[in-house]
């Protein structure tokens, strides 16, 4: 890519100081060995930015980036996505009652329903996410407030959680250790979302939601392990549930022992802290059914929410997102637009540099090198 010139660096190592010590070479010679390495004669390659290198590079980059950008943009546009904000902070919105009447000690969850319409059918696997805004899961003290050995099933850490979990380390009333400890676990998202399809003939069918397969494979199999023992409630008997939880950890999913305790996938997904204050996390998957090609046909749908998670205290927002997926992930037009922009800037810059090069090239060639 760059102009290469075979340039053996020659440095004369001959003028060493041993010759001034008299002719008798009894004293040990201080001359460095006559190898290529020590005499700095290694073959070298010299990158030079010439017009022949840089201009084609700019054009090639421009020509490569623009189709990639177009491909990304088209792929992103083909992804179907719908966001339903169900925070209920405005009066008149469906979940306003639940939002304003929230108390910490409710035993019966507040249910609210949101109706929405899908204008276009969703094909293939449809992924259901919950999204939160203004929730800083990347706050440093929050991110450190966890005990990974406890979550890995270490019995010693189960009884004595790490100091990082303070003040969510031991229960203030019973003084027992909290399992799982820490602020991240304490703020587990506990809304329940259900989806119903209002068919044109008047029937309402529940859309089947799969709750397994939403967490990373390495998280589920390596990082999170239940403490050894058959009966989870026995294993966790000397521990307390986190303060803001309604159920203890061994009751997260009693129907499925593979999804109960620390290895509950909703819990694992929540514990993977998000990088940005507005994030979405995978909640359920709607698998494509083999009988019909449309996973979610267009029409009217109802979202039923068990509103357990308070966000109004920090002006957060909650939403439910339904999205299809492509090879590049969800709907994100930024990469496509960025590639197209950078490609065109590159191409334009290449043209400008070419003009400059033509204008000033004569100056280079005729310039005399002063001796």
């Amino acid at each position: 890519m760059m102009a290469s010139s075979y340039n053996a660096k020659e440095e004369d190592g001959r003028n060493s100081n041993s010759s001034t010590h008299g002719g008798a070479a009894v004293a040990k010679s201080k001359k460095p060995d006559n190898t290529a390495f020590k005499q700095q004669r290694l073959p070298a390659w010299q990158p030079i930015l010439t017009a022949g290198n840089v201009l084609p590079a700019f054009f090639v980059i421009g020509l490569i980036f623009i189709p990639i950008g177009i491909g990304l943009y088209v792929t992103s546009n083909n992804i179907r996505e719908i966001e339903i904000d169900y925070t209920g902070s405005e009066s008149g919105s469906p979940c306003n009652d639940c939002s304003t009447n929230f108390t910490w000690n409710t035993t019966t969850p507040c249910i609210c329903t949101v109706n929405f319409t899908l204008n276009q059918p969703f094909e293939g696997n449809v992924y259901m996410y919950y999204g939160l805004s203004n929730f800083y899961q990347n706050h440093r003290r929050y991110v450190k407030s966890r005990d990974d050995s406890q979550l890995n099933g270490n019995i010693k850490s189960l009884k004595e959680p790490s100091k990082e979990c303070e003040p969510y380390r031991t229960d203030p009333v019973t003084k027992k250790p909290i399992a799982p400890c820490g602020a991240i676990a304490n703020s587990l998202f506990n809304d329940t979302l259900e989806l119903f399809h209002n068919e044109p003939n008047g029937r309402t069918t529940a859309v089947p939601l799969a709750k397994r397969g939403i967490a990373w494979y390495t998280d589920r199999t390596v990082k999170f392990r239940n403490p050894v023992g058959d009966n989870l409630s026995e294993v966790f008997k000397d521990t307390e549930k986190p303060m803001n939880w309604m159920k203890p950890v061994y009751e997260l999913d009693p129907s499925d022992p593979e999804n109960n305790g620390f290895i509950n996938e909703d819990f694992i997904v929540w514990m993977r802290t998000a990088a940005l204050p507005t994030f979405r996390k995978l909640y359920r998957i709607i698998h494509k059914n083999s009988s019909s090609t449309l996973t979610l046909p267009s029409g009217s749908y109802t979202l039923k929410v068990a509103y357990n998670y308070p966000v109004s205290s920090f002006d957060g927002r909650k939403r439910m997102i339904l999205s299809t997926i492509s090879w590049m992930g969800g709907k994100n037009p930024f990469l496509g637009i960025a590639y197209i922009t950078v490609g065109s800037i590159c191409f334009f810059l290449g043209v400008v540099l070419l003009i400059i090069h033509h204008k000033y090239d004569s100056r280079n060639n005729s310039a005399d090198i002063p001796n």
Binding site: A44, W45, L49, T278, S323, W327, G329, A338, V342, L349
Partner: protein, 220 residues
């Protein structure tokens, strides 16, 4: 020059953070799972930073010997191996709380949108430097640039084979002193003077002529 460097640093820092930020804003993996989590984002930013720094060094290095190649590519290779080591299962089991990023590399670096983001970030950081240097060479070439350009045009002569510099005989000795020294016997029989028939490019003509004058016997 300080202002220039500060500007380039600010620009590169902003690019290295904000491009991944915008690309990861609502991103998910190609199987629907999370990729916008803290650890993946950190890994993405870190990797693009390493590559940008290596590319800058590539642009700044003038002579690429084998040592330079080894260290530059080596540092990238070490980064990759260290990343996968730190994020492996083994280290997590040994020192659980110190290596919580387990699995992040395997899950995040598989995604094509992550690699596309890295590629875009690196290119966007390098392009201004390349364009600026190229412009400088075109508009305001320094002497070393001109020399290099001319050398590239004319082609480097093959490096002269190594030869010990010919022994310089002192020019100030009179013939009387010569007659008391060992004389030319050794020199004549050593066939050394024969080489001076074709003076090499290392010596300019004047020097070669001088040397020949001393030895009398050479013919140019």
């Amino acid at each position: 020059a300080f202002v220039h460097i500060v500007m380039i640093s600010c620009y590169t820092s902003l690019v290295i953070f904000f491009i991944p930020w915008a690309a990861m804003h609502d991103a998910v993996r190609s199987d629907g799972k999370d990729v916008a989590d803290y650890q993946s984002f950190a890994l993405l930013t870190q990797t693009s930073l390493l590559i940008v720094v290596s590319a800058q060094m590539f642009l700044d290095t003038n002579y690429w010997t084998a040592i330079n190649q080894f260290f530059l590519w080596g540092s990238l290779a070490v980064y990759i191996s260290v990343t996968f080591t730190f994020l492996s299962n083994g280290l997590f089991f040994m020192f659980t709380s110190s290596f919580p990023f387990i699995g992040a590399a395997r899950n995040c670096l598989q995604q094509s949108n992550v690699w596309l983001t890295i590629f875009l970030t690196c290119l966007l950081s390098i392009l201004p430097t390349v364009a600026y240097r190229f412009l400088l060479i075109q508009l305001n070439p320094t002497i070393s640039d001109k020399v290099r350009y001319k050398a590239k045009e004319e082609g480097q002569p093959t490096p002269a084979p190594y030869r010990p510099p010919a022994r310089r005989v002192s020019t100030r000795r009179s013939s009387y002193a010569f007659s008391h020294s060992r004389g030319y016997g050794n020199l004549v029989t050593s066939r050394k003077f024969l080489r001076l028939r074709k003076p090499s490019s290392l010596f300019n003509r004047k020097e070669a002529a001088n040397l020949c004058k001393q030895l009398i016997f050479c013919r140019i």
